[in-house]
């Protein structure tokens, strides 16, 4: 029943039509139902917004993991770069390539590119594994219990703990792109060298005649990549910091609310 019992008499008064009385009761019911559904829509909106917030915070947790594991990632990449530089420097002294012609020697040296590639792959897989181990969506059950639970989650949330690591590790996140950029530069250097030497070998039957062209080309390509990559990373960190400010304000207002 929409209305309290006994409040409405459905018998028509003199000159009144039963249909009209029934219709009036029906309209009153609709008013109440509409009001109730409006309230539940508002509650649903709050829940949807809190869900969005929690999903964003789950992503923030991943940034935290990324920032925390930057050192290991950098170590993997740097090791692969050091190994490739040492190998390419020391290889001519070992005499391993002596039996080959200079052109063949160059193409065999190209295989060293596999070292930084493997380094980047290992580093990225390692970081991806760490990111995938982040537990997300643990709040879903709590939020499914309705508006009060959404309110509880908002009021009990320690926004500071979420964002402190990110604020501190923001630089690490940007450096992550930079370290990857250095590895890409080495890889591009080898690839550009191969392309240039293949071209000169096919046309002039000679290799290593373009001097440092491959190095500068690789540097130019990497610079273009880094410019885009680093600005994206800076923007993400800035967006997270902005969100942090807004959440801090919300948290402050929630704590100071009085009924």
């Amino acid at each position: 029943m929409c209305l309290p019992e006994g409040e409405f008499i459905l018998y028509p008064r003199q000159g009144q039509n039963l249909f009209n009385v029934t219709l009036k009761v029906q309209l009153n019911c609709w008013d109440i139902m509409l009001e109730k559904s409006e309230n539940s829509i508002t509650e649903e909106k709050v829940i949807a917004k809190v869900r969005e917030l929690m999903e964003t915070l789950d992503e923030v947790k991943k940034y935290e993991v990324l920032a925390n594991h930057f050192n290991k990632f950098a170590l993997i990449i740097t090791s692969s770069i050091v190994v490739v530089i040492l190998t390419s420097t020391l290889l001519p002294y070992t005499g391993l390539l002596a039996p080959f012609e200079p052109a063949h020697r160059f193409f065999l040296t190209f295989l060293l590119v596999l070292i930084p590639i493997v380094g980047v792959v290992i580093g990225v897989v390692f970081v991806k594994k760490q990111i995938n181990s982040v537990k997300t969506g643990e709040w879903k059950y709590e939020l499914s219990r309705g508006f009060p639970s959404a309110l509880k989650m908002l009021s009990e949330m320690n926004f500071e703990s979420y964002f402190n690591t990110i604020s501190a590790g923001g630089l690490n996140y940007v450096m992550y792109g930079l370290v990857k950029g250095v590895a890409y530069w080495i890889i591009t250097y080898f690839v550009a060298g191969l392309m240039f030497n293949l071209t000169t070998y096919m046309i002039l039957h000679q290799t290593q005649i373009l001097g440092g062209a491959s190095m500068w080309t690789a540097l130019l390509i990497t610079f273009g990549y880094l410019k885009k990559e680093l600005s994206k990373r800076f923007n993400e960190i800035r967006a997270i910091e902005k969100l942090q400010c807004e959440l801090r304000r919300l948290s402050h207002e929630l704590r100071n609310t009085e009924l």
């Binding site: 917030l53 969100l243 009924l259």
Partner: protein, 98 residues
């Protein structure tokens, strides 16, 4: 009046849970309310005392808890207030780059 609620602010979440439960059940006794809200009975009683002082609820002669119009309005205002503040938040599309 309980000292915990008197000295500190009541937990909005607990108040909202009680009101929501009362909205769904209309009149209800304290034990049933404690079960439906998941609150310890003595904690519920302390909150009900506080809410009765604020005229959010009334406890009738049979001991049944009834939500008042004020209580209902406060709950709706709380929902609106939260929506106003949370609704302002703009979430960036984040996806950590590896």
């Amino acid at each position: 009046m309980n000292s915990e609620i008197q000295s500190s602010k009541p937990d909005l979440y607990v108040v909202a849970r009680i009101i929501k439960s009362l909205k769904e059940k209309n009149k209800v006794n304290k034990t049933t309310l404690a079960i439906s809200t998941g609150l310890a009975y003595d904690k519920l009683v302390r909150y009900l005392d506080w809410m009765e002082n604020k005229s959010f609820i009334i406890i009738d002669e049979n001991g049944l808890v009834v939500l008042t119009k004020t209580g209902l309005e406060v709950y709706d205002e709380l929902v609106q207030w939260i929506l106003k503040h949370v609704g302002q938040l703009k979430f960036p599309r984040l996806r950590p780059r590896t």
